[in-house]
Symmetry: C2
Subunit: 340 residues, 2 copies
């Protein structure tokens, strides 16, 4: 396609979305799709106007002179320093994971609170455990419990929307200090990090949904975890390091509170097929832990929505319109430029 | 308590709610609490103004001459013939199970649709199946799917309220013929039973939540089940007999549609401890069945709400106010009365 802009996708997950993205584009692009490899990218980046990938390797900076748009195919972003990107290159991301993550939060809460897992296992053997007429302890409900959100961004909003329908009043703190108490979209915002003890002590269900930053790292220490109610359920869909690893294991092993759903971990495998537990502590042996391999947001509809959102940003770029969700703009100037 | 009205509770579950009910009463009552036994009831019913229990034995009719209120401690009712109750005795029921049942519906749908059960089992072994970065098929979401309700009563409304928050448009049919297509509370009502094929063919998730009547018995035959989409999930929280037993087993075994959550069964144990599967077909061996022992509504908060609702009806009775949720009024007259 002569004269078309060039887009390079260097992402091992590209096969999942490249066709969807290509179908959604309304402007002219020529696409090159390859793996997340410096060698491959080095051969394709020189004449690229835009790229999609996790991180631009520093050794390719002086090659990527035409690059004006780097799309990160997920939430968050890898580049934080403007000197890691060519001058004027905008770095934008995508969300869309907040929907499956909010669904995960309710799957986890309903599983841990309902006690139906035990009824299902017994019933497979013909035992009617949990049936009112032939015996069995009545179970708990979510209804009427108070939900506490640590963080009130995209994920927090989607969780709060569903919580309202389940009859759960929601309160939240933001991770920025200086946040004032207020009402927002039906949610009671208690304040910033200084309101964490109040949130923990007064919530029945606590969902961690804030970014990992120097301020939020180890925000939930043993001292904080001891504030949770005995029947409380904790859900972490943010980053593991927000909660102190040793304290969390001790809390769950010794039942300081009832249960936890953990989708994010303290260590990750480096490649497919590497067998590895997510912590140096045996969380996988605890009966009160709902543990998943950072899979809460990984759905086909999420990938399709991201492909459409990235295509829309590429169309905006091609039309000279303003790019959405820009998180950083590059400032690196090639030595040739500065010499000119 | 001299002069107080007398309430007799003949219900094996009475220990779960008698104190809650007694605490909630605002009018004066003397309570007698015992088992669901004709012998015990025969000794206590003669001077009772009101009773709570499953069914008044016919042989006690001529003893229950003072009885003016019979509360059924659940949804539905056992008496359908006015001649089974003393003249003027009102028979009223209670709901409150719609909240835990709606929670159950979302637990079941999220479990069956998310595929997280497989991820959880694998992750316990250190396998990161379902994690986007190290491989694994992206999963499904509820979001955007269409929910079809068979029945739009107390349960249907609570399900629809939660469905809206999950981003599921809801359509429903009512079990009464002659229902016209309309919009109601954000739900598209397609019509009466004649709209069942349309509902089945156009829904991604189908929830059976209508009463069992001669019209709804075997309403879902094999022919109807074949209309479901290949990825559809069926949930039955109403009564088993609404779906043909043999056809349902064949459909699930041969994957005519994706999966089912079944909380109601074709046979029940007569007493605690009797080991019994809920069907003559081995549903318990099918991997695509989420099976529970009619436990979806059995929660402590539900029992507490019912106790408060029954107390409120007893207070209304004592104050001469109108009773809520009356389903039948007795017409039996004792031979002495008719002789007078």
């Amino acid at each position: 396609m002569i004269g078309a802009r060039k887009l390079v996708i260097f992402d091992d997950n590209a096969p999942l979305y490249a066709d969807l993205l290509s179908d959604a584009l309304q402007t002219s692009w020529s696409l090159e799709v390859g793996p997340n490899s410096t060698a491959w990218l080095g051969e394709h980046i020189a004449d690229a106007d835009a790229a999609i990938g996790l991180k631009l390797p520093p050794e390719l900076l002086n090659l990527a002179t035409k690059l004006k748009l780097l799309l990160f195919p997920g939430a968050g972003f890898m580049h934080r320093d403007p000197m890691e990107l060519p001058e004027g290159c905008r770095h934008a991301n995508v969300y869309e994971h907040e929907i499956p993550i909010a669904e995960y939060v309710f799957l986890a809460l309903l599983t841990l609170v309902s006690g139906q897992a035990e009824s299902r296992a017994a019933f497979r053997q013909g035992n009617w455990l949990g049936n009112g007429r032939v015996g069995g302890e009545p179970r708990r409900e979510l209804f009427g419990g108070k939900l506490g959100l640590i963080g009130f961004g995209h994920i927090g909003r989607e969780v709060a929307r569903r919580a309202a329908a389940f009859g759960l009043p929601t309160q939240a703190i933001r991770s920025r200090s200086g946040t004032r108490a207020c009402e927002s979209e039906g949610v009671s915002i208690l304040g910033g990090p200084e309101a964490l003890p109040e949130l923990l002590a007064t919530s029945d269900f606590v969902v961690v949904a804030c970014p990992l930053t120097p301020e939020t790292q180890h925000m939930l220490s043993g001292e904080q975890l001891r504030l949770l109610k005995p029947h409380a359920v904790l859900v972490n869909v943010a980053r593991a390091e927000i909660i102190d690893e040793a304290a969390l294991f001790e809390a769950l092993r010794d039942c300081w509170f009832a249960a936890a759903a953990l989708d994010v971990w303290y260590r990750y495998p480096s490649h497919a097929g590497e067998g590895l537990h997510g912590s140096r502590y045996p969380f996988h042996e605890l009966p009160n832990v709902f543990a998943t391999p950072h899979s809460s947001g990984w759905t086909a509809p999420m990938i399709a929505r991201r492909a459409r959102q990235m295509a829309a940003n590429l169309d905006r770029f091609a039309r000279g319109e303003s790019i959405e969700r820009v998180v950083l703009t590059g400032a690196w100037r090639s030595p040739c430029d500065s010499a000119a």
